[in-house]
């Protein structure tokens, strides 16, 4: 329990540090938000009024304290541009990002784990000789390139998938749930998920493969072989279970990482997610919105980090045992 609390505190502290860095980073960037926000039609008094309204006339440390205070109340402020609460804006697109990320990661990891295990099992064969370079290539190719190629072929040329967006123009649904489980939404989701999964599968596959290669030499595998178990059973039931530990961690962290890293996929496929919102907010120097978006990504990352810690404690007794000893 102590360790759990320690890990929790550790992640909370990291989040606070991110919050602080974010706050000052935006204010130290060249240019002021006013250049973008304040119209040339406004006179000096009106400009001053707007400065005061957003609290930008106060010294930076006071702005920081106000910011922290508001944050404690779950208040992320008002977007400079959209003039709506940041939290509402973020929550509007968060489900789209989560669905894109989770679906792609799940597909990538299931495929990566199975294919990694299989490739380790087929070590030295011609399959490995072909598959490894292919996997490395998908991992090395830029996401936007994979995305554009898939768009050009599967959408523009053959017309199998829509070219962008999350649903067909003007589609009306009774609610967000109905929308997300509609065929139309899934049809729009397919291509971005495929692209992202293609990009993401390399890591679990290579990780799984190298862990498997290690595990395959362990004594309990030799023991299983001696018992006369089938090869596939040995691979899946015995070796893979042990090799999966680091992959599980990578999965949890991957959720947080790709949440923020989906900017490219979201832009290529016009997917309405948090990444595009973030880019727009940064370009417009919309501090509250950009901070909010970064913070949400950092929060997901911290939570997932914590989950990974917990998983590790449960899956690998050595982590907790070492401490007790």
């Amino acid at each position: 329990m102590k360790l759990v609390l320690e890990r929790f505190a550790h992640n909370a502290l990291a989040l606070l540090a991110v919050t602080t860095i974010l706050f000052f980073m935006f204010r130290l960037m060249p240019g002021t938000p006013l250049a973008a926000y304040i119209s040339e039609n406004l006179n000096a008094d009106q400009q001053q009024q707007i400065l005061e309204q957003f609290g930008l006339d106060k010294p930076m440390w006071r702005q920081y304290l106000i910011y922290l205070g508001n944050l404690a109340h779950g208040e992320l402020g008002l977007s400079f541009f959209q003039r709506r609460p940041v939290l509402a804006i973020l929550l509007e697109v968060l489900p789209n990002s989560l669905i894109l990320t989770l679906t792609s990661l799940t597909i990538a990891y299931i495929f990566g784990v199975l294919a990694g295990a299989w490739l380790a099992w087929r070590r030295g064969s011609w399959v490995e000789g072909v598959a490894i370079p292919v996997v490395l290539a998908t991992r090395a190719a830029p996401e936007f390139w994979i995305g554009m190629v898939l768009l050009a072929i599967l959408s523009f040329k053959f017309g199998w998938f829509p070219s962008g967006g999350a649903s067909s123009p003007g589609m009306v649904y009774a609610g967000e749930w109905q929308r997300m489980f509609s065929l139309d939404y899934l049809h729009h989701l397919a291509l971005p998920v495929f692209t992202l999964a293609l990009y993401l599968q390399g890591l679990p596959l290579l990780l799984m493969r190298s862990n498997m290669l290690e595990v395959m030499h362990e004594e309990f595998v030799t023991m299983a072989r001696m018992k006369g178990l089938s090869e596939w059973r040995i691979v899946i039931r015995h070796a893979a279970r042990n090799a999966m530990l680091p992959v599980v961690t990578a999965f949890a962290l991957g959720i947080g990482l790709s949440m923020g890293g989906n900017v490219v996929i979201e832009t290529v496929f016009s997917w309405p997610g948090i990444g595009r919102l973030l880019v727009q907010a940064v370009a417009n120097l919309d501090y509250p919105l950009a901070q909010g978006a970064f913070l949400m990504i950092a929060a997901v990352l911290a939570v997932m980090n914590f989950v990974a810690d917990l998983l590790y404690m449960t899956l690998d007794p050595r982590v907790t045992h070492g401490r007790r000893g």
Binding site: P30, G31, T32, A35, A36, S39, E40, N41, L42, N43, A44, Q46, Q49, E52, Q53, L78, F81, Q82, R83, R84, P85, I89, E92, V93, M148, L151, A152, S155, F156, G159, P162, S163, G164, G165, A166, S167, S168, P169, G170, V172, T267, V268, F269, S270, P272, G273, R276, L277, Q280, A283, L285
Partner: protein, 555 residues
């Protein structure tokens, strides 16, 4: 000689607060310091970036040291717009808008000395003769006479070259003629086919009754008292009516007004169209109109306040008529006021504005804006990163033939073409990619009709008229003449532009002075002007006329 003395005085005055560097001011004949030419990053505006590189090459041949410095939009606004005395030259642009179809906005704001400090005259051009004409043209109701003044103003600007005008771009837009009847798409002069006349006239041919247009930007605000970006004006235009609208020919014509009569120099009588209603079913009344024009007069709608500033009083003269009494003769009242102010329902906005009284917020900052208008479309859905859906308003006097107007947010330029091909879009409202790709695309897809229109706006190099050597009109003229406009058009804009030398676009053919189109350009011309002005080239470098000094630093 007199000019040079003046230049010297101005140069020294401008230099006073600036720390002198040792390298300068050593000789009686002084080298012209290095010039920074600011521009946009290539990714943001490839044409302007390419143009700035070509310009720098041409200027270097005059013996100038030129550095091209790309700046992000925000940083550029900060460096140029808000620090007016620090920079030398920058690429800049003015964009076209329907209300800019009257030349006044550019004629007045760009070079009138009242906007030197904070307004549009960011280059610091000051000319009392020009000021007088700028004010005068606003008060001449006789079009012919006003045109003569407008021509004179263009000639002054041609002589003084406060900017080096480069091109009026042509914006290519497209639509699918398999979805819409081609003849029902309206090209608005200086604006193109993306305009309200198209959207109320366009006729669907088959089952697809939705017009699906793209934008790379989201809608920022949907508020009849505030415009926060280009897309905001596309949409407010469709939801809220105005008494007049700028017609496809660029001339204002009655819209929500049945007639508009100039009774005398300062009196305008308006008869409201009968049978109009708001989207909530209530009738549009003369009281609503009076309210719409008084609402911005206070401090709660600063963006629209200038457009009602000339109204002395309004009087209801009948059930459907009202009279505007103006403070002074105003030749642009139809364009800048009657075609600009959105009609808003009094029963909704009066309590809202009352509630704002005594608070620091104004109507621009309202979080929840009621979107009831009386326009041809009504707002039904707005998902910021995805789409905006407007339904036709069947009770409108110009009820659209399409069922819905749907704007999709598509940040990927190439994907817009894929969408156009697949029918996910059927109207290209903006194309951020290479225009040649679009031309090729239209050739390969015969159902796509490409229309490009010369813009009211223009691209230019702004010279900082406050700083030597740019405070010398001869120097500015020489630099401007050195720029080969034809090369700009073909190499930088791939022929999607026409050469410019005026702030009044040739597309406004009535107001554009053809006399200014004859400026000779070329390196030889530029060199000649510099030589006549006393500038000398020594060892390949350009030097000021003898005795002239400046102590500015390149920033």
């Amino acid at each position: 000689m007199k000019r040079r003395t003046l230049v010297k005085a101005a140069g020294l005055a401008a230099a006073a607060p600036v720390v002198a560097t040792k390298a300068f001011a050593q000789n009686a004949t002084e080298k012209v310091r290095k010039i920074n030419l600011y521009t946009w990053p290539q990714a943001a505006l490839p044409q302007a970036y390419q143009a700035s590189q070509l310009i720098a090459q041409q200027w270097r041949q005059l013996g100038l040291d030129v550095d091209v410095k790309p700046l992000q939009r925000q940083a550029q606004t900060q460096t140029i717009w808000y620090s007016r005395d620090k920079w030398d030259a920058t690429m800049w642009r003015m964009v076209g808008r329907p209300e800019r179809s009257d030349p006044d906005e550019f004629l007045y704001s760009l070079f009138h000395s009242s906007s030197v400090e904070k307004g549009y005259d960011f280059v610091g051009y000051v000319n009392p003769e020009y000021d007088k004409l700028a004010e005068q043209q606003r008060t001449i109701l006789d079009r012919e006479k006003r045109r003569a003044v407008v021509f004179k103003m263009q000639e002054i600007i041609d002589r003084d070259q406060p900017y080096a005008f480069l091109v009026h771009p042509k914006y290519p837009l497209a639509f699918s003629k398999s979805v819409f009847k081609e003849s029902t798409v309206v090209n608005q002069s200086g604006i193109g086919i993306r305009n309200i006349w198209t959207f109320v006239n366009i006729e669907p041919l088959g089952a697809q009754k939705d017009l699906i247009i793209n934008s790379s930007e989201s809608l920022n605000a949907c508020n009849p008292l505030y415009i926060g970006g280009a897309v905001d004006s596309w949409i407010t235009d469709l939801i809220w009516d105005r008494l007049m609208r700028i017609g496809p020919d660029g001339v204002p014509q009655p819209w929500a007004a049945e007639s508009v009569t100039q009774v005398d120099d300062t009196t305008v009588e308006v008869k409201l169209r009968a049978g109009m209603s708001w989207h909530d079913g209530k009738p549009v009344t003369v009281d609503d109109v009076i309210f719409s024009f008084s609402a911005p007069a206070g401090d709660k709608a600063p963006m629209y306040k200038p457009f009602v500033a000339d109204i002395a009083s309004m009087e209801k003269t009948g059930d459907m008529t009202l009279r505007f009494k103006l403070k002074q003769v105003n030749a642009i009242f139809f364009t800048a006021s009657l075609s600009k102010i959105n009609l808003i329902p009094k029963h909704i906005w009066e309590p809202v504005l009352k509630d704002l009284e005594g608070k620091p917020e104004n109507a621009e900052q309202l979080k929840e804006v009621n979107r009831i208008g009386s326009g041809p479309f009504k707002m039904v859905r707005w998902k910021p990163s995805e789409e905006v859906v407007l339904d036709r308003f069947g009770d409108h006097f110009k009820a659209p033939k399409i069922d819905r107007w749907i704007m999709r947010i598509v940040p990927n330029a190439e994907a817009t073409l894929g969408m156009l091909k697949r029918g996910e879009l059927n109207f290209l409202g903006f194309f951020g990619g290479d225009p040649e790709v679009l031309v090729k695309f239209a050739k390969e897809n015969p159902e796509i009709v490409l229309v490009s229109e010369v813009d009211v706006g223009f691209e230019f190099v702004a010279f900082n008229n406050r700083r030597a050597p740019f405070n010398d009109p001869a120097f500015r003229r020489a630099l401007s003449m050195t720029i080969d406009r034809r090369l700009m058009v073909s190499a930088a804009w791939q022929d999607f532009a026409v050469p410019a030398n005026s702030h009044v676009s040739p597309v406004l053919s009535y107001w554009h002075d053809p006399a200014v189109d004859t400026m000779k350009t070329g390196l030889a011309e530029g060199k000649k002007i510099l030589q006549q002005g006393g500038y000398r080239v020594i060892g390949g470098k350009l030097y000021y006329p003898a005795g002239q000094q400046e102590k500015l630093t390149t920033e």
